[in-house]
Amino acid sequence: MNDQFMLLPISLQNRQTALALQQCNDVTAKFGLQLTEPEIGQLIEHRKEALEKNGRIEFGGGVIQKMIMEFADSAYLYQENYAETLIELQECFYYFKNESMEILSDDELIKRMKMYFDDVCHGSIEYLQTTMLENYCRDIRYDTKEYEEMNGYEDNYIDFMDYEREDW
């Protein structure tokens, strides 16, 4: 009886998610962003992989809709990189959901990602992932800073890294 999830039909969940993503297109159209059917398929497929990779399971439409709604007005998103960026952001999200030890809610993490993505990272997912969120989640885990009050605009993280170097 170890494989409990054999009781849950995954294909049904995927159908629900695809439907929800199609509905998102109505909202993102005004920002010039649209997901095609194959892109939706890709997103769902990558969601499955990202969840598996990070040892998580998701119910309902998933977090991707929320992410689309939050990032739709970003200056760094345009039709050509839209689907690709969403796939990377999605993977990034599940990874840092684990790294933050479930302390951050979906909305908090998405808002934080958007804030860094638009301001400090200037649309660079690599910088978002390897520096900003990494340090932010480390602070959460070790409770080293008042992470709830950080806004990401000042050089908090640079200071923190300098401090680490001096220590070495």
């Binding site: 009886m1 009781l7 040892g55 998580r56 119910f59 309902g60 959901k97 684990n98 479930e102 979906d106």
Partner: protein
Amino acid sequence: MDFLEKEQLIDEKLLDHGHYFQSFFLEVCRKNLISNHQMEKIQMELVELMGKEVERFTNDESSSIPIEKAQDILQSITYNIGYFLKTTTDMTQKLDNLKLMKISELYYKGMEGVTACRGKAEQLLKDIQKNAQKFNNYAYQDTIFTGLPEFFYNYNMEFGAHDIPGCFDYPLITTITDLLGVEFIYEFLRRLSLEQGFLSHYSELAINRLLKSFEKEAEHMLINIYELVLTNALACALLGKDSKELTISTKELDWLYQTLLPLNMPELTDKLFYAFQVLQEELLLEPGEMQYTIAEIPQIAQRLEHNLQTNTLDKIFLPSLEVFVKEEFYEDGQPMEDDRLRELIEKLRGYRLTSDKVAIMKDTVRSQADFIELLNECFYDEEYEEVFASLNEIEKAVLKKSILLESGQKHYEDYEPMKEWQRLLFQME
């Protein structure tokens, strides 16, 4: 498909009672007892319910959770559903419940049942705590007064109904293997209560002596007290003596060995059943206790046969230590401070007459440890007899017991004295 056919198709005994819903559902699917449409409906409802429960678990703050937690929540849901399905023994009724009722309905009804079961278990624990005797066994005391209450404190029937939080080290005579969650605890408490009911016919003193006979440090061991008491009580019944003291001498053990050795397995079982009848007449056990005990007799017979063949009857019928003579009337006092004891030793060494030394010792020494220290340090050869003559019978017996236990032996005949005064003491009648 009629009732009898369904009964034959799903064998209740083959279902996993710890994961009842899963095994029942898989069996139902395997034997095509529900249509594909019904199967899909059940799965869909399960996903829906799971989504709702995850939402509740995360306070609607997270749509995804770690797989381990999701497994826990799903298992908790299926445990509650399984609990409700188990409430009826009629297989047709079970199938109808699965087909006609909504999964969420089954779940909430199961939760009601789990809540009721938890209440019954809590009451049972209170009764057990109220009637608990003080046995010298940490596992027994800790399980009843710490481990089991911890379960009720930590048990979460919404997201961990199948969990068994808490520490229950005390082993029952037979382990519970096929139950989880509150069902496990209820069954554990039910059996513990029956064992306790049986043990209540014997005094704490007799049981604690028996534990000491089993092992010098029985208080630290994970042993089932009921089993030890039951086997010795059966032996007493076989010997035709009152079982209340639970004592068997080495001679009686020899007699049992000679009597039981020629018997084969069915004869041994009959003999034990006969002994149990004798015991029942003496103790007048409750029907529940009686059934519980009767169920254990075949296993005891098997062990007995093995012990007879290997000539280790003393491992099942525990011979009592001779040193328990009137121990209950003796109470040891406080040992002296080291400085005072040192002064007393110096003082006694200065006396010439043994009678003076003995008189001073009797006036000042209140503990056995100090007494032994003085015997070692201040008395020599012929003086020992005079010292022992000043002791009464109880004091001598307690001193002998203490020396014997310290040496790790159970019987006088196995003991080899290390010192002169010890040799003299054991030679005395």
